[in-house]
């Protein structure tokens, strides 16, 4: 009956001194508890639990704080959060009888496409009223875009007429998403976990954990954004330094041989997505976007595009673009975007066999010819 009394009267420092004395006297660690009697252990456990509880509380406060200001974390977060209502634009466009064009891509597509330029050019040149929706989250690729399309458009049965998929280099390859955490947070619900696992979207154990943690925690899903955001505010020149480091890291990665190299890529994911769109009467157009650094289109990709009769707009060498029009060396600036969007609107009109110089008209109730007719030209 004495032990509880000692347990409550003994201070933390007493426990520590007892433990240190025991350790100093050469007692085995496991016996520290015995030397200082059981109460020390109980006291230590309580102290340890207090420490752990404090850490958990700090993380929870950070999580709650971030939830409160989630929209201000980055423009990309706002964009991702707006995706759930993106399909509503399809409803509005359908009601207005507009050609519904959905751009899928990442930040490179986001910076390249000026929706106003495209809609106005199509209206002026082809007399087509069109609605442009962009789903262009940062640092994403085909896997993310396919999931976004499935979650935000296919499920709601609010489909575009045309999906234009902007890509560069390896964006269309058969690789899972780089951000399972963001999939968990912004694209999917917990209920989608099993389906993604069955579809091999979450291939590794790590991806499963990140999906689940991202689903539960804003802090976890946005950890990279927070890091970049905080460091770019705290450390002058951080962005430039990061870019230099990334360039060097990419050079370093190139020296490492990759077992799953380009030779093995079969673009099955692209084919599946194409079939999915076709079965829903949605046209797929691939759009190769220019960047200051040239990149090649893989032979396997061209083979798949040809065999599946997928339309490819190869605008890698679009006229009027100069390297200095890419302020960060990768993304287009406003002037480049305007030039590029004009070129894209023209090629898009030709590709879709849209009529020239007609006044704007409503397409409500009509079958859009461009979707019914699969053009054989302009294809690689």
């Amino acid at each position: 009956m004495e032990a509880p009394t000692i347990r409550h009267s003994q201070s933390d420092s007493d426990s520590r001194i007892a433990a240190r004395l025991a350790a100093a006297n050469g007692a085995p660690e496991n016996s520290v508890a015995q030397v200082s009697d059981q109460p020390v252990v109980v006291r230590s456990l309580a102290t340890e639990l207090k420490v752990i509880a404090t850490v958990v509380a700090v993380v929870l406060v950070a999580e709650c704080g971030l939830r409160a200001v989630e929209d201000s974390v980055s423009e990309d977060v706002r964009h991702l959060k707006s995706l759930r209502t993106a399909s509503q634009r399809m409803v509005d466009a359908s009601q207005n009888g507009e050609l519904k064009v959905l751009f899928l891509g990442n930040s490179i597509t986001a910076a390249s496409i000026d929706a106003d330029v495209i809609t106005s050019r199509l209206r002026a040149d082809a007399g087509i009223s069109c609605s442009v929706t962009k789903v262009v989250p940062d640092n994403t690729r085909l896997a993310d875009w396919a999931i976004a399309f499935d979650e935000f458009f296919l499920r709601n049965k609010q489909l575009p007429d045309v999906v234009v998929m902007g890509f560069r280099d390896a964006d269309l390859r058969d690789e899972p998403s780089r951000h399972p955490d963001r999939l968990g947070r912004y694209y999917c619900d917990l209920a989608d976990w099993g389906r993604l696992a069955n579809n091999s979207e979450l291939q590794r154990f790590t991806s499963h954990v990140e999906f689940l943690m991202g689903n539960q925690s804003v802090l976890f899903a946005n950890r990279k954004r927070l890091r970049t955001g905080l460091l770019s505010r705290l450390l002058p020149g951080f962005v430039a330094a990061s870019r230099a480091v990334n360039r060097g890291t990419m050079a370093s990665d190139k020296t490492v041989s990759r077992p799953n190299g380009r030779e093995e890529n079969r673009y099955q994911r692209l084919l599946q997505f194409h079939r999915l769109l076709a079965s829903n009467d949605v046209k797929l157009v691939l759009l190769a976007i220019p960047t200051p650094t040239e990149y090649a289109l893989e032979n396997q990709l061209l083979t798949v595009v040809k065999s599946a009769e997928i339309d490819l707009l190869d605008l890698r060498n679009a006229a009027g673009l100069e390297p200095e029009m890419f302020p960060d060396g990768l993304h287009m600036g406003h002037s480049a975007s305007a030039v590029f969007s004009v070129a894209l609107a023209t090629d898009f009109k030709n590709l879709m066999h849209l009529p020239d110089q007609r006044p704007a008209r409503s397409l409500q109730g009509q079958k859009i010819p461009a979707i019914a007719i699969r053009p054989e030209t302009n294809r690689q």
Binding site: D12, K50, T54, F205, T206, K224, L231
Partner: protein, 475 residues
Amino acid sequence: MLFNSYEFWAFCFVVLVIYYRLGHRWQNRFLLAASYVFYGCWDWRFLSLILASTVVDFFVAQRLHSTQLQQIRKRWLLVSVATNLGILGVFKYFGFFAAELSSLLQTVGAPLMLPTLDIVLPVGISFYTFQTMSYTIDVYRRQAEPARRFDDFALFVCFFPQLVAGPIERFSRLMPQIESTRRLTTKNFSDGLYYILLGLFKKVVIADTMASIANAVFATPAAELSGADCLIGVYAFALQIYGDFSGYSSIAQGVAKWLGFDLMDNFRMPYFATTPSDFWRRWHISLSQWLRDYLYIALGGNRGGRWKTYRNLILTMTLGGLWHGAGWTFLAWGIFHGLILCIYRAAGLENASEKRPTVGVAHWIGRVTTSLAMFHLVCFGWLLFRAESMSQVVSMLHAIATDWTWRSINTALIAMIAWYVLPLLAYELWVERRGDLLSLQQVDWRAKAAAYSYCVLMLLVFSPIGQQEFIYFQF
């Protein structure tokens, strides 16, 4: 299964849950099975190497113990050493030496096609072969009794927390722990948590971030680098390799603590060292002690006069360099450390600190100066260690010596390094002054909670995305 992966922590959780439901004997058997599973996750085929090493050394030790005739005992020891070094030689060094010999013969006009082995280096091979070799040598020297049970000995060889990157434990230290009952005490849990958190912080926050800077610099052609770029790259690598390896060792200690084991400290703030020998008392302590006990002393140590001591030092450090990998840069790194050990000893600098004042400003100026000098010598060694080739070493040294261009990006990189490393540096200074690696365990719980919260938030927010391998897995 990397220590910084979710898979490992799931594995650990399952192991711990089952482990503490078993009696002592079954705990050992279960740990053995778990260790084989852990190792098999890299490449199950290489389990055969561990098994071969285990079987040979177990039976050799029995023979060494039971045989009195010195001649026979030497032969048995030779069997063990030849087996372990043979495994190491074939898998780690054969390719390098075959290629170099071919190249040499080609140069002298006698081309010879030597067979090459295009195989992956078994992870952790240098660690467990050295650990088992130390066992048979200890038994040979009658410094240890042979293991009584094969399964216990097998666990000693492949205990999973320290299997792939150490610490290289001694039989006399680890086996008594294997043979005695273990339980999870609050102290073990608390210490384990501390070690794991510190280790993850060092690995994921410090090492992986520094890796991106170091890799970028070392992957850039030297002609495009200024001296400042090269220096930053070398500093970043120095911090990377420290965070990486000491982080691994710390996690290994933590996991072992949770299993009721006490592994040795492998690092003690090495960059505060003031002399080369001080550095090796703080850096990769288990390997330093191994080399000292089984190589340096076996070569004669400092018993044969000054020049023999120098020879032994250089030979020991050269072989230490080769232990890290088959390559000229590792060899140069080892020779360099041997040389600075000799130079410090010859110049009487090893004991210079004893002549300095022990208190006051003069003490601190002397302490900081000698530590900074030693740190830069170590950094020169890291340049040799990290460089892809000796020509890269020369080019980078040339840039450091001749090109003092300072760009704004250098300022940003230094600020980035400082952001990550200064808190750790401050913490280690505090630990160094207190002289106890577990100092944080003794402070008020609020201070500890603040430190832990900082680590957890840094792990959550300031760690690079993706898992990076530990550098020392390749050794």
